[in-house]
Every structure is written in C-alpha cells, then in structure tokens.
Amino acid sequence: MLARRIIPCLDTDGGRVVKGVNFLGLRDAGNPVELAARYNTEGADELVMLDIAASRDGRPTFLETIRRVANELNIPLTAGGGIRTLEDARAVVRAGADKITVNTAAVVRPELISELSAEFGAQAVVLAIDAKKHEAGWEVMVRGGREATDMDAASWAARGAELGAGEILLTSVDRDGTQAGFDVALTCAISRQATIPVIASGGAKLPQHFAEIFRDGFADAALAASIFHDGNQSIRALKQFLADQNVPVRLPC
C-alpha cells in the first residue's frame, strides 16, 4: 500500500537553515548537510530544500548546498525558491535535486509549469501554493505569502495539474509557523478534488496533527520544518505513532 509521506523541509539562507514564524522573523536553525543526514537516517521519506532568500547573489551558495545535501541522501530531494526559468531549474537538477518546486514564478507565468514538465517529467514538478483563507475559499498568496493574487487556490491547483505539475505543495499561510496544527479544511478541499498528490504544509507541531491531516485532510504527504530541526520530534517516533494509528507509513529499519 502506498505510504503517507513525512517530509522535513530545510528553509535555507546563505548555506544555513533558518526558521521563521508566519514567513517572517528568521533565526538560525542549523547546518543543512548535518540535518539532511540525520533525517535520511531517521526515516524521512523525502527532503525539501527552499532557498528563502532566493537572491541572485546567493544562488551559487544554494546550489553548492544542494550538492552537499544530495550527497548525504538516498531518498528524493526537492529544491526550489526563486526558480523563474528553465535554466534556473536545470541548475538545481544538475546540482542533485530530483524535483523542482515553483511558486510565484508559476503564478506570474503559468507556462513555466509546462516547460518544466516537458523537460523533466511531471513527477519532477511540484507546484507550491501558499493559500490564505478568505470569504468563500482560499486565496493564492505569492512572494513569500506577503502578496495577494485574487486567485482561488483550488482552481489554481487544478490548473497546475493540467499544465503538467506532478504534485501540489500546499502551505497554509494562516497556520504556517503557528504550531496550531495543519489546516485540515484547506487540505481536504484541495486534496479531494486534486488528480495529483497533495503535500500539506504549515502549522505542524504534534504527532496528532499529522494523523489528522492524513485521516481528515486526505493529504498524501505532510511537510514540516522547525519541529524536526529542534530535535523535539524525531521522525522515527512520529512514524511509529502514525503506524499505531493505522496510518500507512514506511517504518525505518
């Protein structure tokens, strides 16, 4: 049976992992290579690396970090942050990423999704959507969750799949950094109508939050960052908890 995936995320800036609350207020959280090696051993199903600075000057550092992280892994690696062109994506793939995640640039120019899918295959294209609650549903936010777009998140997810994305990385802007739990209503709404897998993100703290997002939110995978970096929550223990709750997971050896 296809396992539900647990995906730690490294938000990186200048070769270091950083963490923030509601997309703001960053602080240092460790060495990406050491964290990656630990998560790989602990039974992480994949790893995501986001260049949150995403400045042109910082690009060589990010690519070098991808190379060093990829060397530690025998699980898939997704990388993104600031990918605007096919050439940006090629650099990230050449550095060792298996998948590319795009966000703002895909909203600005949706054909980017098709171009990436044609070159690398749908399985390598992860459309990241930052969604924020408004009256009728959820609105797509861009530029690190700061700027509204007037686009409906569910429609954008469906459009992304049509354009050739292979997965949706769905972050709740309302929950991100709050540790109040994943946004079950948002994830459920998007995942139940999606034809491609949905990774839930934003708000995780307790093992129970993960059980909820799989059971009630119909997430195919769940992503979290800071709770793993602190060492408060081991991935091994989390997966054992989920297995005990009858959520299908891959238990590490």
């Binding site: 049976m1 296809l2 396992a3 995936r5 790989n40 199903d45 990829a70 060397n71 025998n74 699980i75 898939p76 793939v93 050449r94 060792g96 298996d98 044609a118 070159e119 690398f120 295959g121 749908a122 399985q123 390598a124 292979g166 997965e167 999606a194 034809t195 491609i196 897998p197 195919d220 995978a221 891959r250 590490p252 050896c253």
Partner: protein, 211 residues
Amino acid sequence: MKVTLIDYGAGNLPSVERALLRLGVRTEKTNSPEVLAAAAVVVLPGVGHYGALIRALDENGLRDSVIASIHRGVPFLGICLGLQALYETSEEAPDLEGLAILSGGVRKLSGGAKLPHMGWNQVRCACGGSRLLEGIGKDAFFYFAHSFAAIHGTGGLENGDAVADVGATCEYGAEFVAVVERDNIFAVQFHPEKSGEAGQRVLQNFLRLAA
C-alpha cells in the same frame, strides 16, 4: 567492476551514479555506441517521458548496441523508464517502438488513483522469487514516481513468457510489473537509488549477480 551508465540526459543519472559509487564500483557515463559495445555491465537509468528516452537512444545510435549487449549476455539493469523501454510499446508515446526485448506494452495506470504514482510502496514477489530482492524483507518499501507501467496479467503481458520474466509486482490502481528478471536482464520500475537501505540492497544484489 566498472558499470557503464547510458547517458541520454536522464534526470536521475547523477543519483544512480552516486548510489553506485557509494557501493564501491567504478562508473562511466556514455552516449557512444562504441563505448557501450565494450561495456561489461550496463545500467539504463530514466525518469520523465518515455518518448524522450526512446528518441535519445535513436538519435545517439544506441538502440542496436543496447539490444546487442543484452543479447550478448552483458548484465543489464533498467531503472524506471529503463524498465519500460524493454517492452514493445508505450501508451505514453504510441508512435515509437520500444526495445522489444520483452513482449507486451506499457500502459497508463488507471483505477481512479491519483497520478503520478508517487512515493513509497511495497512489492509482491512472483512465485518464482526474485534474485534482485534477495535478503530484503517482504514489508520493505521502494520509491516510485511514474504514471505508466507494464500492467500485469492483462493486455500484452497475458502470454506465459512475459509473465515468467516478472520478479515482483506492485499494486496501485492496477497490478503492475515492479521487477523484471530474465537471465542477464534486470529492471525495476521503482528508483533503487532513492529507496533508502532497501534500494541500496537491490543495487548490491544486481552488482553481485553481474560479477
């Protein structure tokens, strides 16, 4: 031992190479028919679009040398698209001819499940057992990332010969071929280079069988 990786620009080639290097073998990457003709062990990695792989093999003049090396008995491992290429056709690019080492065709996974089939899944060994999966627990998970597969027990794979080549199957919407084994021919639909310890063991088994 030196392993020759067919380099047609597949996204997973660096990962496959890294995984092999970790196991202590030497590797070479090539898109030259002459180099391939002299190879002692051949790995065909692949991920993405079936058409891209088949076209790249033909554009580089590699089709005949891959087929010839397989027929000469050179140990061969196909990964993901490298498995699919062994069949006669694929619904992903119906106008193109596969390598036709195995009979039958590759079809889109259906059954209402989300596609791609993305993530970690378990496999079931065929009754004859699997040499590639030797020593790996039956509950082990492997990493899959594909939308097309050699569907087991229907269509082109109904004939006895093709079914006999199946080392293991996986279930996602339909039962499909996860492991192919016939003489010197090995292929896996999952990505051993991305499948943790279990995947590493698959590669080790292949290298042992190839030695």
